[in-house]
C-alpha cells in the first residue's frame, strides 16, 4: 500500500516506493491520470515524479482529511486502471563539440571513447517517467549503466535550450534555458516545449524516446 504524507498544510504526498521502480512509476501514472481526469474538489495542482505524486489543494475549500481518504481509496485500487498509450519520439542530436561540452568528461569518467558514449546513448530505449524541474523537462529511464556518471560539481547558471544531458542513472533534455548540473553531451533542435500549443510539453509520462545522431536519418 502507498504511504500518504501531509507534505504541508496544503499538500499531500503519495509515496508508492522510496526507490525508483517500474511498478511505482506505473502506479504514479495511473493515480495521476485518474486524478487529473476526475479531480476531487479543491485539488489545484499535481506533481508526478519517479515514485511519488504530490497533490496540492486549497485548504480553504476542502477537509484535508476527507481528501486524504479519497486519495487513499484511489491509490489503493489502481490495478485495473488502463494507462494511456505512450507514443514513440525519435530525437535527433548533435553530439559533442560546442553542443555537448561535457562529453569528454563523460568519456573520461566512464572509460569510453566519445564515439562509444554516443553509440551507447543512441542504442538505448528510454521511457519518459515524468515531466518536472522546468517546463517540458522529461526525466528518462533507460540510460545504460556504463554511461552512469556523477553530475557536475558546480551546476551551470544557464544551460541552453535543447541540451541533451545525463546524470547518475538519469537522462533528460533541457527544453528551455535554465540552470542545470547534468552533463551536457549534445543538443537537439527538436522542440520539447512550445508555449503557443494547448499542450506545450511535447513529451508526457509513458511516452518512449530514442536518440539519433542528427543527419543520419532523413
Amino acid at each position: 500500500m502507498p504511504r500518504l504524507v501531509h507534505a504541508s498544510d496544503r499538500a499531500l504526498l503519495v509515496v508508492f516506493d522510496d526507490a525508483i521502480t517500474a511498478a511505482a512509476a506505473k502506479d504514479v501514472r495511473a493515480l495521476y491520470e485518474w486524478i487529473a481526469s476526475d479531480p476531487p474538489a479543491a485539488v489545484v495542482d499535481l506533481h508526478p515524479a519517479y515514485a511519488t505524486l504530490l497533490i496540492r489543494y486549497d485548504p480553504m475549500r476542502c477537509d484535508p482529511d476527507a481528501l486524504a481518504r479519497e486519495v487513499e481509496r484511489r491509490a489503493g485500487s489502481l490495478s485495473h486502471r488502463p494507462l494511456r498509450d505512450g507514443r514513440l519520439f525519435e530525437i535527433p542530436v548533435q553530439y559533442g563539440g560546442i553542443h555537448g561540452p561535457d562529453i569528454a568528461e563523460v568519456a573520461r569518467a566512464t572509460g569510453l571513447s566519445e564515439a562509444a558514449v554516443v553509440a551507447a546513448h543512441t542504442a538505448a530505449h528510454y521511457d519518459v517517467c515524468f515531466v518536472g524541474f522546468s517546463p517540458g523537462f522529461p526525466y528518462l529511464a533507460g540510460l545504460p549503466e556504463r554511461l552512469h556518471t556523477p553530475r557536475r560539481e558546480a551546476p551551470r547558471p544557464q544551460v541552453p535550450a535543447g541540451s541533451v544531458a545525463i546524470a547518475g542513472r538519469q537522462a533528460g533534455i533541457y527544453p528551455v534555458r535554465s540552470p542545470g548540473g547534468w552533463n551536457v553531451i549534445g543538443r537537439t533542435d527538436f522542440s520539447l516545449f512550445d508555449p503557443s500549443r494547448a499542450n506545450p510539453a511535447r513529451l508526457t509520462a509513458g511516452d518512449r524516446v530514442r536518440f539519433l545522431v542528427a543527419g543520419t536519418r532523413s
Partner: protein, 311 residues
C-alpha cells in the same frame, strides 16, 4: 486605449498576477506575485478582481507615466512614492490624470511593492496567467523584467468600484512584520538529526545575497542528516525548505522548480507565504513549528481579516 509608460523600471519590476497553478505535470510552476496578499489588497483598493495583473517592484521602485487618467494604488512596502507634488502612501487608492507620473523610490519596508491600476495590466496570457517567469522568459511582458520606455496596455475597468479609503493590513494574522515564519514538518523531517531539527527552529537564519524569486538561501548553521541518503526526485512546493548536501537550507520561492531531489525539513504555512515576499538579503528570519490544524486556523483567520478590511 489606456497605456502606462515605464519611465524608469527600478531594480527589478515584472508583471505579476496570482500565477498559473495546475501545470506542474508539464514542469511549469505556478509562479505569480511574491507577496500575493499585497497584490490582492491593491486590486481590491482600485476595484479590480483580486487576481488582476499588476507591477511587482523589488527593492527599488520605478516611475510610470499614465498616458490616460485612472485609479491606482501602491500595495506592500512603502516606496516613498510621489505623484507630482503629492505624497503617495501605500494601501490607498489615488485618482490620476492623463500625463501624470507616479515616481516610486527605494522600498522602506519589505522587499516588494505592487502598483495596481484600475483595469489591470494587459499582456498575452501564458497558461491562463499574466505572471512573468523570469528564469525561463515565459509569460508577463515579453517574458522579462520591465525596461524604460516599455508601454503596458491597461485592461478595461470592470464593474467593481474603487474603495473609498486606505486600509492597514499590517496587523492581520500571518502578515505582521517581524514574526517568525510558521512551518509544519517536511516530508523528510525524520532524515535530520534530532538535535539539528530542534536547532533549525532556534537558529536566527541570515538571508543570503542569493535570494530571488526562485529561492531564498539561508546561512547560520548546518542542518546535518542522520546518515547520507539519496532521495528519488519528488514534487516540491512553494515554501518547502530543502537542505542540499552542504547543510544550508533553501526556502523554495514562487519560481521554484516543480520537482527536486533534496530532503525537505519543513514547509512554511500558507498564511505566512505572502510575508516571504518581503524578505531581503541580509535579513534575519526565524521559523516556528506549528501543527497542521493550527496552520489551517491561521489561514482561515487571515482570509477573514482581509475581508474585514473591506467591510
Amino acid at each position: 486605449m489606456s497605456t502606462l509608460r515605464v519611465v524608469a523600471p527600478g531594480f527589478l519590476t515584472t508583471v505579476q498576477d496570482l500565477g498559473r497553478p495546475g501545470h506542474a505535470a508539464a514542469g511549469v510552476s505556478a509562479s505569480g506575485a511574491a507577496d500575493p496578499l499585497a497584490l490582492q489588497i491593491g486590486n481590491r483598493l482600485v476595484g479590480n478582481s483580486v487576481g488582476a495583473a499588476g507591477l511587482e517592484m523589488t527593492m527599488i521602485g520605478g516611475a510610470f507615466r499614465f498616458e490616460s487618467g485612472g485609479v491606482f494604488a501602491v500595495a506592500g512596502s512603502d516606496t516613498g512614492a510621489q505623484l507630482g507634488e503629492r505624497d503617495v502612501a501605500p494601501w490607498r487608492p489615488y485618482t490620476v490624470r492623463a500625463g501624470e507620473t507616479l515616481v516610486c523610490g527605494a522600498l522602506r519596508g519589505g522587499a516588494r511593492a505592487y502598483v495596481c491600476v484600475r483595469g489591470g495590466v494587459s499582456v498575452p496570457l501564458f497558461f491562463g496567467s499574466a505572471s512573468t517567469h523570469l528564469l525561463t522568459g515565459l509569460g508577463g511582458f515579453e517574458g522579462r523584467a520591465l525596461r524604460a520606455d516599455d508601454r503596458l496596455r491597461l485592461g478595461a475597468p470592470g464593474s467593481g468600484e474603487a474603495f473609498d479609503r486606505a486600509v492597514d493590513p499590517t496587523g492581520i494574522p500571518g502578515y505582521r512584520p517581524g514574526e517568525p515564519f510558521r512551518a509544519t514538518e517536511g516530508p523528510q523531517a525524520s532524515w535530520f538529526q534530532p538535535a539539528a531539527r530542534a536547532a533549525f527552529y532556534d537558529t536566527p537564519w541570515r538571508v543570503a545575497e542569493a535570494c530571488d524569486r526562485m529561492g531564498i538561501r539561508l546561512s547560520g548553521r548546518q542542518v546535518p542528516l542522520v546518515e547520507p541518503r539519496e532521495l528519488a526526485t519528488e514534487g516540491v512546493l512553494l515554501g518547502s525548505i530543502q537542505v542540499p548536501p552542504g547543510g544550508l537550507p533553501i526556502v523554495l520561492f514562487v519560481e521554484h522548480q516543480t520537482t527536486g531531489g533534496y530532503p525537505k525539513i519543513a514547509s512554511v504555512i500558507a498564511a505566512d507565504l505572502s510575508r516571504l515576499g518581503g524578505v531581503r538579503p541580509r535579513d534575519t528570519i526565524r521559523f516556528e513549528a506549528i501543527s497542521l490544524s493550527a496552520a489551517r486556523e491561521l489561514l482561515r483567520a487571515q482570509v477573514e481579516a482581509v475581508d474585514a478590511l473591506f467591510s
